[in-house]
């Protein structure tokens, strides 16, 4: 499953361009993003929007894993980002499900809430985030 999801991530142009690496995809989804120079802000630490991309990648996988089928579409609805510290170097984003509402199996529609913590290489939390997703079964 992990290799399959990594292939899916690599097929998303914007995610692939950040070099995201899926490290775990169980109850917790963990994604590593390299701290490459182009991800920096004007202060030399990781840009807030680069950290967002790491968080959203992990959160999106966690939401999709609720119904891991090719016709499951995951759409981000709203996000709440809270930055805790500046980030230097590689970061890892860990996502876990907060709640799931709706009867996806019968209606093809549900809503998921996912929490994410992004940490630097020393384990310091640099970003805490919450994502709301709409899950939809795509039409054949």
């Amino acid at each position: 499953m992990q290799a399959k999801i990594q292939d899916m991530l690599d097929a998303i142009p914007y995610v692939r361009s950040h070099g995201m690496c899926l490290e775990e995809c169980g109850d917790v989804v963990r994604v590593r993003m390299p701290g490459s120079p182009e991800n920096a802000n004007m202060f030399g630490s990781l840009h807030a929007a680069a950290l967002y991309c790491a968080a959203e990648t992990a959160a999106g996988v966690a939401a999709w894993l609720l119904r891991p089928e090719p016709d499951t579409v995951v759409l981000v609805r709203d996000v709440n980002m809270s930055y805790k510290a500046k980030a230097l170097g590689d970061v890892t984003a860990e996502a876990s499900l907060l709640s799931l509402t709706g009867a996806f199996d019968t209606t093809g529609r549900a809503q998921a809430q996912v929490a994410v913590t992004v940490r630097d290489t020393e384990g310091v939390a640099v970003l805490e985030a919450a994502f709301s997703y709409a899950l939809r079964r795509s039409s054949p």
Partner: protein
């Protein structure tokens, strides 16, 4: 010196937003509009513009809008952002227009709208911390 020239002196840019391709468009005190031409690497799995790209445009616009009101000895950074996605971006250009709502303390509140031509695609409210620039 125009407002845009002053802004470029204070905030010459950052590697990430430049890499994404966010370009400065309009600047007034407390108000900035940025523009982004959609490239193939901006797409998500459905061929639409990735939500993180819209977030980058919004965050950059908000930060630059706040900088227009700061003293040259001050800098700012993002503390928190609440963003709502309203519609997908399917076109070739994204614009984010930010307005500073309040900067009376060390914490400033900035709001932005992200548009795909005439369609409002996302709205965001950000809180930014204002600090003295370290020499």
């Amino acid at each position: 010196m125009t407002e845009s020239e002053r802004l470029n002196d204070v905030w010459p840019g950052d590697p990430f937003s430049e890499w994404v391709g966010v370009e400065h468009d309009i600047t007034n005190p407390g108000q900035v509009r940025v523009r982004l031409t959609v490239r193939p690497e901006h797409r998500n799995a459905f061929g639409r513009v990735h939500g993180a790209v819209l977030y980058t445009a919004a965050d950059t616009a908000m930060g630059r809008a706040l900088v227009t009101l700061l003293d040259t000895s001050e800098v700012c950074w993002t503390v928190s952002v609440l963003m709502n996605y309203l519609a997908p971006v399917t076109g070739h250009t994204v614009e984010a227009e930010a307005n500073v709502l309040d900067h009376s303390t060390r914490l400033a509140t900035v709001q932005t709208e992200v548009r795909d031509q005439d369609t409002l695609c996302a709205v965001a409210t950000g809180t930014f911390y204002i600090a003295e620039r370290r020499t």
